[in-house]
């Protein structure tokens, strides 16, 4: 037996509409898994973390800056789309051409596309939480003229 891991990435919005499905293990081919087609895009996820503390660092996805990837990323960050990256483990001796039905989900991380960077050849996508460390305040609303009128002076 040989242990292998593959990565799958899905871009979607809060309503569940899927925009992109990528896989990075089977080069040059579209594979079918879980009832969907996954397009080959060479990307890597630097690892995912789960913990009991807040303030986890963003997860980074590195990909080649092809037209498809760049366009998908720009749309995702503009619309605040969500992204799920899943790690699967399987026995590569049993088959290495297509996803196996018996492959095991190791972890799946979901985050919001919150940032990234790019040069002419590569793009880095940051997944995290939209819980802005500075902007998100509670209570969420303040008293405005429209809400309470001009206010009184007592």
């Amino acid at each position: 037996m040989a242990r292998a891991q593959s990565q799958y990435l899905r871009l979607f919005d809060a309503a569940g509409v899927t925009y992109q499905r990528w896989q990075s293990y089977y080069p040059g081919s579209n594979v079918t898994y879980d009832g969907a087609s996954w397009f080959y895009v060479p990307f890597t996820c630097n690892g995912i973390s789960a913990g009991v503390v807040s303030g986890e660092a963003n997860i980074s996805i590195e990909a080649t800056a092809t037209a498809l990837v760049v366009a998908a990323f720009e749309q995702a960050i503009t619309a605040g789309q969500l992204c799920t990256v899943a790690f699967y483990e399987f026995d590569s001796d049993a088959g290495n051409d297509a996803p196996q039905a018996t492959q095991t989900l190791l972890a799946a991380v979901t985050g919001q596309v919150v940032g990234g960077g790019a040069d002419l050849t590569g793009i880095s996508i940051q997944l995290g939480s939209a819980l802005a460390p500075v902007g998100a305040q509670v209570p969420p609303r303040t008293a405005t003229t429209a809400l309470i009128g001009v206010g009184c002076k007592l």
Partner: protein, 732 residues
């Protein structure tokens, strides 16, 4: 909670079978010396009615009164007011009050106060303005009476969208009394109505998990897909079972993340990030029913040397100072239904330790209304620091644990320290997994905290927390004197919902429609010429092959210096200066024809002097590349006074001559054979039309390859010495 509340320190009556000190006596607490203002104010409730300011946060009232605990005393701000006086000058005040964001439960008549008195009448509404009166000062002068000084800026009617409001009408206070201006207080038994995670019911809640869930959804706009609903529900069950409640008014703006991080530990919770989803999880082991687990713990996995990668095992011990005995002093709030809450303290320590401190204070009074809650939090803080001695990090190769272990799980790590002389010592402890990192390489990194258990495998920290029992003593505010209540203290009457729509003041902003970005277009690349000289492009004069840099071709640099400046030129061959050639002409010669080619470039130097300051600017000439196969020539490099030039030519009976002359106006060329006999017909007079020009001339000459021809330059005619100018002959 007002700042004038009394503070009474109460020792916690604890279980003597455990390690806690028992303090049976009530200590008389410190009471601040009343200042002049306090002397005049009989109660912290007897303060002037405050106005709500534009820009102030809309408060969130989150509470639930049950089992004789909980609820909050709300002192809302007024946004509108109205004042009238009767014929006998009795003043009636109307206040419109903002209660809370969202819809709160209806307030009963027994819970409405002005000052500390149950007086007046009211109407409560939601999503609109309560009451039907119009704001304004309607005070009139009554004969024989002093005009009451009532405020004149009484506000205007707003929309109050999405918030709970209340209209209060005071009793008619007699002439001379200013009690009409006192603060209205409300005891709220049910705060904002939300869908409770514990029982999936819409209603008020005192569950911190519900509050966090609401905040994430409404304040931070965290997508629901990024909220770990399962962990939130488990946390809600845990809070419900352990009696850790939250009764709070959030009226000061604060950062969401900071607030949750700060408050979660006081509910024995921690934030979790499970594969990107945010949630809450108990810091103590819990049973399947959500209660604190005080029975034996079975670890989820055993890590040994089979999984742990060599060199990755790292223990970090808690420092000595962190583990010293201390007293946890927890401040909580005993909420009364008719007065400000009594701020109380619970002290937790291990028996026989820290009799005189040090004290570590934790203020939970903003939200904690139960002594049980306070002592359990105190016990956890104390026990965690006492029992947990270290943290552990290690990496493991992927195995079954990769699929099984989640943050918060309890695992066992057993490794042996085997030495040659000191025998074997096992590192064998239980740990709680704090963080899991999975890498591309497949290995999994674990960060864990020590999870101490007793000989029966029970969590020591959980046992200590459950052993902390409150004294159960509830105090009264001890407010004495005649009652000023007009309304009944047992009236559960809820007036009808009377309200009205707000007035559009025309202060809103029409929605903006964002434009769509189009493709970029236009623009051009320009050179501002401020870089070290704009370049000029040389002309290659070659009558044999026009424009071709060839042996004998002349590179001519156009003038580049402004009028009024002195120009000079330097030429470089492969960036090495070619000494002696200073003019605009550069004749490609033998030295320029090299293996690999050579690059000829020139630089104009333009010098000007003004006001005693000499300025020199440079203008480069575009380099010319001379390839290695540019031909071969014989260079005749004269000195200024050499008159005779010898060279060899062979080209179908013709000679191509290139030369340049700076100043000499006329040159004459003659041919001589090898015996230096003049060859008839070779006299050529070249009139130099203008100094500095160069020719390439076809000079027909009949000859054989073996003949050496000498060319003579003469000015103005042959035989005469030419002027001492740089003259260069090149013959091909």
């Amino acid at each position: 909670m007002t700042s004038n509340s009394f503070r009474i320190a109460v020792g916690v009556q604890l279980n003597r079978q455990r390690y806690y000190a028992a303090q049976a006596q009530i200590q008389a607490g410190k009471i601040a010396t009343p200042n002049k203002k306090q002397a005049a104010v009989q109660s912290p409730l007897d303060v002037p009615q405050r106005a709500m300011e534009i820009g102030a946060p809309i408060p969130i009232v989150f509470c639930r009164y049950r089992n004789n605990a909980g609820g909050v005393l709300l002192s809302p701000g007024a946004t509108e007011a109205r004042f009238t006086n009767s014929s006998v000058n009795a003043v009636t005040a109307y206040y419109h009050l903002v209660l809370s964001e969202g819809q709160i439960s209806s307030i009963q008549e027994k819970d409405v106060f002005q000052r500390y008195c149950r007086v007046g009448s009211y109407n409560q509404s939601y999503n609109r303005r309560a009451g039907s009166w119009s704001p304004g000062n309607a005070i009139v002068q009554r004969a024989g009476y002093t005009l009451p000084e009532c405020p004149r800026n009484c506000g205007t009617v707003g929309f109050y969208t999405g918030m709970s409001t209340l209209s209060f009408q005071s009793p008619a206070y007699p002439d001379g009394s200013d009690l009409w201006n006192r603060q209205v207080h409300l005891f709220v038994r049910g705060g904002i109505n939300i869908t409770r995670l514990f029982d999936n019911t819409v209603g008020p809640s005192d569950n911190f998990a519900d509050l966090v869930n609401w905040i994430w959804s409404n304040s931070s706009r965290v997508p629901s897909l990024l909220i770990d609903t399962s962990s939130m529900q488990s946390a809600a069950v845990f809070l419900e079972k352990t009696g850790l409640t939250c009764n709070v008014i959030i009226s000061q703006a604060q950062n969401v993340a900071e607030m949750i991080t700060k408050l979660a530990p006081y509910f024995l919770l921690s934030e979790s990030n499970n594969n990107g989803k945010k949630g809450l999880r108990p810091v103590l082991p819990v049973t399947s029913l959500g209660e604190i687990n005080t029975s034996a713990i079975t670890p989820e996995y055993l890590f040994t040397e089979n999984e742990i990668l060599p060199g990755s095992f790292a223990v970090d011990y808690v420092s000595y100072t962190e583990r010293q005995p201390f007293v946890v002093q927890v401040i909580w709030r005993q909420q009364l239904t008719d007065d400000v809450g009594i701020v109380r303290t619970a002290e937790v320590r291990y028996t026989g330790t820290a009799a005189n401190g040090p004290y570590e204070q934790h203020d939970l009074s903003a939200f904690c209304t139960k002594e049980l809650h306070a002592v359990r939090v105190g016990a956890y803080i104390l026990a965690k620091r006492y029992h947990s001695s270290h943290t552990l990090q290690f990496r493991a190769r992927p195995q079954q644990h990769t699929k099984v272990i989640q943050p918060g799980d309890i695992v066992r790590v057993k490794l042996a320290r085997q030495t040659s002389t000191a025998g074997r010592l096992d590192h064998d402890y239980l740990y709680q997994v704090e963080r899991i990192s999975r890498t591309l390489a497949g290995e999994v990194s674990y960060e864990c905290s020590h999870f101490p258990v007793d000989s029966q495998g029970r969590s020591l920290i959980a046992l200590d927390v459950m052993a902390a029992t409150p004294s159960g003593t509830l105090l009264t505010s001890n407010r004495t004197g005649l009652s000023c209540d007009v309304n009944s203290s047992s009236s559960n009457t809820i007036p009808s919902d009377v309200g009205q729509s707000g007035t559009d003041l025309g202060v809103g902003i029409d929605g903006l429609t964002p434009g769509q970005e189009g493709a970029a277009s236009g623009g051009e690349t320009k050179d501002d010429g401020l870089d070290t000289g704009s370049t000029v492009t040389a002309t290659i004069n070659n009558s044999r092959n026009a424009g071709v840099p060839q042996a004998g071709a002349v590179i001519e640099a156009p003038s580049a210096c402004p009028v009024g400046t002195t120009e000079s030129m330097k030429w470089y061959r492969n960036d090495a200066e070619v000494v002696g050639i200073v003019g605009r002409y550069y004749v490609i010669g033998t030295a320029d024809i090299q293996a690999g080619g050579s690059t000829i470039r020139g630089i104009w130097y333009c010098t000007s002097t003004s006001g005693g300051v000499t300025t020199t600017t440079q203008t480069p000439v575009e380099p010319v590349f001379v390839p290695a196969n540019a031909g071969s020539i014989t260079d005749w490099m004269p000195s200024p006074r050499v008159l005779y030039y010898e060279g060899y030519y062979a080209r179908n009976g013709a000679a191509y001559i290139s030369f340049k002359s700076i100043i000499v106006p006329t040159v004459r060329v003659e041919g001589y054979d090898a015996s230096r006999n003049f060859v008839a017909g070779t006299q050529q007079g070249f009139a130099n039309p203008s100094p500095g020009q160069a020719w390439s001339e076809l000079w027909p000459l009949t000859d054989t390859p073996s003949v050496v021809v000498t060319l003579v330059v003469a000015t103005p005619y042959y035989g005469a010495s030419p002027a001492a100018e740089t003259i260069e002959w090149i013959r091909v």
